[in-house]
């Protein structure tokens, strides 16, 4: 056998040399003083490198319990302002229900995510390849959240729902006529089905959280979402107009919203199902704010997407939307 190369020596020292090669190496080293000396040197090198890396250690801190990771810490740090805004809206809603329409003239708080969305230019750049949010390898995996986690989310959703003084299933007519939120009150009363008017506002905090079952009932089919992304929460429109909102976690700081409702519930202007059609084209008279909403028909549902991402990224996500597993 010729002399042993460095790679084999290191693999041997690391205990990673296959057994046949190991035996051959040991036999050679036993009879070769040069290689024996090199083995000693390389052993010292391996140890030295390990010691050096040991100098660059983070301080040891205990790991948090695994179950706490289901709501990543990062997310809540960033979401605190939104939680605060949610409680304000909730308080307003309660006040509104108790005192009626005459007592509200308070502007609603805008969430940071919404502000970012509204700051985006209306122009779309279809040539813009590989947006950062989609280029990440982990998001393209097709593994889906299992029932275990989904039920965990639903359980949490149910808990939160119990804490909210809002009706659980179909909204009673009184709520539809005068929803307990300033935002919705801004819309024309007859435009209950106008998703775009509701979107981009503090929708998330005003829409009651529902479980999967009621969502299925409202839609008449499975709610849809982007495969592989965790479903954060499912909500329904407080206006009782058959709209369901699925919020999914893109990463710790980014939530996308998928507004969906049966296509048959659409108002004029949305009637013809055509894949990848934009509101801009469908309703040319809409104002700029609503001009670049992305919508698509997925099976029997009309789906709109919103989130603090570029139009191109949202478009790509929307293309992936499928019934939730």
């Amino acid at each position: 056998m010729s002399h042993v190369d460095d790679g084999a020596l290191h693999a041997y020292l690391d205990g990673e040399l296959p057994s046949t090669e190991r035996a051959a190496l040991e036999a050679h080293v036993a009879g070769c003083p040069d290689c024996r000396a090199r083995l000693t040197e390389e052993r010292a090198l391996v140890e030295r490198a390990s010691v050096l890396l040991g100098l660059a250690q983070p301080a040891e801190r205990p790991a948090p319990p695994l179950h706490q990771l289901r709501q990543p810490r990062l997310m809540w740090r960033l979401r605190l302002p939104l939680a605060w805004a949610a409680s304000v809206v909730l308080a307003l809603g309660v006040g509104y229900s108790l005192h009626g329409p005459s007592s509200t003239a308070i502007p609603h708080a805008a969430s940071p995510a919404v502000a970012r969305e509204e700051d985006r230019p209306a122009t779309r750049a279809p040539e813009d390849k590989a947006p950062a949010s989609l280029g990440r390898q982990e998001f393209s995996r097709t593994n889906r959240p299992s029932d275990g986690l989904t039920s965990g989310v639903e359980a949490k959703a149910a808990m939160r729902q119990q804490a909210q003084p809002q009706p659980r299933d179909a909204a009673p007519p009184a709520v539809a006529a005068a929803p307990p939120s300033v935002t919705v009150a801004e819309s024309p009363p007859s435009a209950a089905a106008d998703l775009s008017a509701l979107r981009g506002r503090l929708v998330a905090t005003e829409w009651p959280i529902i479980r999967r079952e009621p969502a299925r009932r409202i839609l008449g089919s499975e709610p849809v979402g982007v495969p592989g992304l965790a479903v954060r929460v499912i909500r329904r429109s407080p206006a009782g107009d058959g709209t369901v909102l699925v919020e999914q976690q893109l990463d710790s700081a980014t939530v996308i919203q998928l507004f969906q409702r049966p296509a048959t519930a659409d108002v004029a202007g949305y009637a013809a199902p055509a894949p990848m059609r934009y509101d801009r084209q469908a309703a040319g008279l809409r104002e700029r704010e609503n001009a670049d909403r992305l919508a698509r028909f997925v099976g029997p549902l009309r789906v709109e997407i919103a989130g603090p991402l570029s139009q191109d990224s949202l478009n790509r996500l929307l293309e992936q939307v499928k019934p939730l597993p």
Partner: protein
């Protein structure tokens, strides 16, 4: 299976933090990223959780580094760690200096050599390193031999080159 991930969490969390720390050089950030990787693993339930976690963590660290470069907010190379074991200021300076020099030495490795070395030090096997890096298994020993030699040489050269690196 969640039980499997719980096992992996127990056995691999520290290693993942260490791996990430040597990429982002911020202990708290490394923990955040490691926890986020595990949170994602809970959702995705990958078959090979360990390998998956390190790939996700490496991607997150790379995104992080890009973002940091973009924002030019890494002017201070190292945060001083309040938890440093040193008891006297001299010890702390010493530990900081050494860490800075190890970091500088690691920076001199090629990305692939560095990745292999960090993965090995995080407890991954040659097979796992090969799967992660795309290198042939038979090349891992050579890669590690080169990475270790360069690390040690660069570190020693840094020490000899004076203490100017020390004040990060």
């Amino acid at each position: 299976m969640p039980e499997d991930i719980a096992d992996v969490y127990r056995s691999t969390y520290r290693a993942l933090v260490r791996f990430l720390y040597r990429k982002v050089w911020d202990a708290e950030r490394a923990e955040d990223l490691a926890q986020e990787a595990f949170a994602r693993a809970l959702v995705h339930k990958p078959e090979n959780a360990r390998g998956w976690l390190f790939v996700v963590a490496a991607n997150m660290a790379r995104d992080e580094a890009r973002r940091a470069a973009r924002e030019r907010r890494h002017l201070t190379l190292l945060k001083s760690e309040p938890e440093t074991v040193g008891t006297s200021p001299e010890d702390e300076i010493d530990a900081d200096t050494k860490r800075t020099q190890v970091r500088a030495a690691l920076d001199q490795l090629t990305p692939r050599d560095r990745e292999a070395l960090l993965l090995w030090d995080a407890g991954m096997s040659y097979d796992e390193i090969a799967a992660h890096t795309g290198l042939a298994r038979g090349a891992i020993g050579t890669t590690l031999a080169r990475a270790r030699r360069r690390l040690v040489e660069a570190y020693d050269a840094g020490i000899e080159g004076g203490q100017h690196v020390a004040r990060g």
